[in-house]
């Protein structure tokens, strides 16, 4: 089933087309990679999908429903979460607070509840903390629960950012260069986490990455962008042997 469908999407900025007529789909349950040289439009694509930009033309469909006209927070509530390339943790809040701040959709707290149904609020707050603690355990973050986010080591911060995105109960997770700044061991760890997310939690993953080894090893399908166009899409073997891709790699700037 096509969970995410990008149909002829273009996005212009003052006459310059950052992405031009790009179409592809992501199958449910896949780990799907998006690669390309710098400036090929990968992050712009993510920004269009997550609702930060509206496409200049074209449409984005999620679970067979159009989402390209929705504001970002509604897209998230529809089941699509993303992380950013530069970490955007809630720096002055602890790890637990970072997670708890997010878990709001499935827990169903409304503002009015704070005034009328305090019991309900107290129950939901308790549940929230339990759910958050479980998530922290799952991602080996339990020991950091009370540490302020900006005091964490870099690798832990990255893990937390992913855990936090998962706290929204998404069906699809967009990861923007999750391996940036990680060493070999940490990158392997990351691959393990991504596989765990797909295999055990059943969440479809789309990731932008520059680390070719990692991409080729865990992605089943790879989409290649170059200068805003879709170059080619296929399995890691097909893509890594494609002549156009190789010349783009050698000729372009990574």
């Amino acid at each position: 089933m096509e969970l995410l469908k990008i149909a002829k999407v273009s996005r212009e900025f003052g006459g310059l087309k950052a992405i031009d007529d790009v179409s592809f789909s992501v199958k449910k349950g896949a780990i799907h990679g998006v690669i390309g040289p710098n400036g090929s439009g990968k992050t712009t694509l993510f920004n269009v999908v997550s609702g930060h930009y509206k496409p200049t033309s074209g449409e984005v469909w999620f679970e067979n429903k159009p989402i390209h006209k929705l504001p970002p927070y509604k897209i998230c509530r529809a089941g699509l979460a993303r992380t950013f390339q530069n970490l955007r943790l809630f720096k002055q809040m602890t790890v637990l607070e970072n997670i708890c701040a997010v878990l709001d959709e499935s827990s169903g707290v409304r503002i009015l509840d704070y005034f009328l149904f305090l019991n309900r609020v107290l129950r939901i707050e308790k549940e929230t903390v339990l759910k958050a603690e479980k998530l922290l355990e799952d991602f080996n973050l339990s020991e950091w629960w009370n540490v302020q986010a900006d005091s964490l080591p870099y690798g832990v911060q990255k893990r937390m950012e992913i855990a936090r995105a998962l706290a929204t109960n998404p069906k699809l997770l967009l990861l923007d260069e999750p391996a940036a700044g990680l060493n070999h061991t940490e990158t392997d760890e990351l691959s393990g986490i991504i596989k765990h997310i797909r295999d055990d939690l059943g969440i479809t993953v789309v990731l932008i990455e520059h680390d070719m080894k990692m991409v080729m090893s865990i992605c089943e399908t790879i989409t290649v962008l170059n200068e805003g166009h879709l170059l080619i899409e296929g399995t890691p073997e097909v893509v890594s042997n494609d002549k156009q891709v190789i010349s783009a790699y050698l000729g372009g700037e990574w």
Binding site: H52, P72, Y73, F90, Q92, A101, L103, D104, S107, I124
Partner: protein, 291 residues
Amino acid sequence: MNGTVLIQSLIGGLGIGSIYALVAIGYSLVYRTMGLANFAHGNILMVGAYIGTVFYVSMHTNFIIAIIISSILIGILGMVMERILRPLGKMDLIYMMLGTLGIGIVLQNLAIIIWGTDGIAVQYPIKNEPWVIGNISISPYTLVIICASATVVLALQFFLHKTKLGLAMRSSAQEKEMSLVLGMNVNLMNALTLGLGSVLAAIAGVMVGPVFYVSPDMSSSVGIIGFAAAILGGFGSIPGAIIGGLTFGVLQTMVATQVSEWSQVIAFVIFVFVLIIKPSGIVGERVVDKI
């Protein structure tokens, strides 16, 4: 200055300082979450004071219920304000601040049209017979103000640190885009913040009515000092706002015991002095730079 006068004015100063602190927290809360200096804050305080006082004096509502009614109405006013200011905020923060200026003027004149310029004298909601300990008389109502303000502040901190909504409000402030992408309706969070800040002003306004006098010039007399207190403590810092408010209150009262005519001025002289030495205010938190 002898000991009795010192202690007496300390207590009185803490009382009025608590009011300033509530007002200052309102300013700082909105500034740190929205980057907005709300110039209508003092006017909101005045309108809140009038609403609560009218219920208490004319309709003989219980004082606490009058405060709650005023809080609800003013909270809604704050949220409506956010909605009105939102398109300006999208353009530039400066326009949004000008907008608050305009709204403040409208509120001030509306209040005068509705309630006139005469003002309302308010009786204490409790039997205000002073407690005498040795040479010192303590006005019970002053203690009520101090305790009530402390309670409000504690409840606020609990809300902001231990509830989902509070955490969501803080995170929307720190990282707007990330919060959006994590499913939070940031516009709603901002509206709640402005509403919450306004509620603090309304509570302060109604509580201070029996001590002073509810009149249109409360916007400037209490409002401006609250603003200065927020800056003194470090604009955007809640603990700073508390320190700033209490400092102003105590300073004003103590100076007034010595040199009456200087009391209004001296607080601002010290204010300028502190800012020259430490521009980020007493607590000196690095302010969220949204401009």
